[in-house]
């Protein structure tokens, strides 16, 4: 899939990578795999940096 689901986690950001063949929509995956009550965004994969040198310093912006 070309999209990612991002949500805040412990002051940083968690990024959900959906499986293309799982039979669920992005919204269904978000409903199941994002912790209850936590806001999230669906973004294009191009918005996620590929350089992970400072991965733990990434932050979630709403």
């Amino acid at each position: 899939m070309d999209h990612r689901i991002v949500y805040p986690r412990n002051g940083g950001v968690a990024i959900i990578v959906p499986a293309a063949n799982c039979g669920l929509t992005l919204e269904q995956i978000a409903a199941k795999d994002v912790p209850a009550g936590v806001p999230y965004k669906i973004v294009h994969v191009s918005e996620i940096p590929s350089d992970r040198t400072f991965r733990d310093a990434w932050e979630y912006t709403s």
């Binding site: 968690a14 990578v17 799982c22 669920l24």
Partner: protein, 133 residues
């Protein structure tokens, strides 16, 4: 050979059963059991699932910190998750990929961590996980 149901002998399956989802279960003694879920994903760069069965997604929580989320939950938490990761530094340091005490391990998901010999989290180039129950 077909499936037979006998009140005394129970149910007898043929040597090979092709399930509707494409997985194959083979008979024998001891019997073989297909994995309930498996996934192969890139843990560095743009984290991407390469292939998966019964995995809805993986969550990139941070450096060397991933969660594997099942599409259909396991029947209980007594499943066996086997994980392995590929080093991303060409083998210059010791690096393991493992389950951690304190990590999530529920019927819906479990955590996988990549760690270097000095105890810090490190990304794995490729992470593979298989689940049996």
């Amino acid at each position: 050979m077909s499936i037979t149901i006998d009140g005394g002998a129970g149910i007898t399956f043929p040597d090979t059963v092709q399930q509707t989802n494409g997985m194959t279960m083979t008979g024998g003694n001891p019997k073989y059991y297909a994995a309930r879920a498996w996934v192969n994903f890139n843990g560095t760069g743009t984290v991407t699932i390469r292939a998966a069965v019964n995995v809805s997604s993986i969550t990139d929580n941070g450096t060397g910190d991933y969660t594997i989320n099942f599409t259909t939950a396991m029947p209980d938490v007594n499943y066996a998750a086997v994980v392995v990761g590929q080093q991303n530094d060409g083998g210059s340091t010791n690096q393991t990929t493992q389950l951690f005490d304190g990590g999530v391990y529920t019927t819906s998901r479990f955590d996988v961590f990549g760690q270097s010999s000095n105890g810090s989290n490190v990304d794995s180039a490729i992470v593979c996980a298989v689940v049996f129950r």
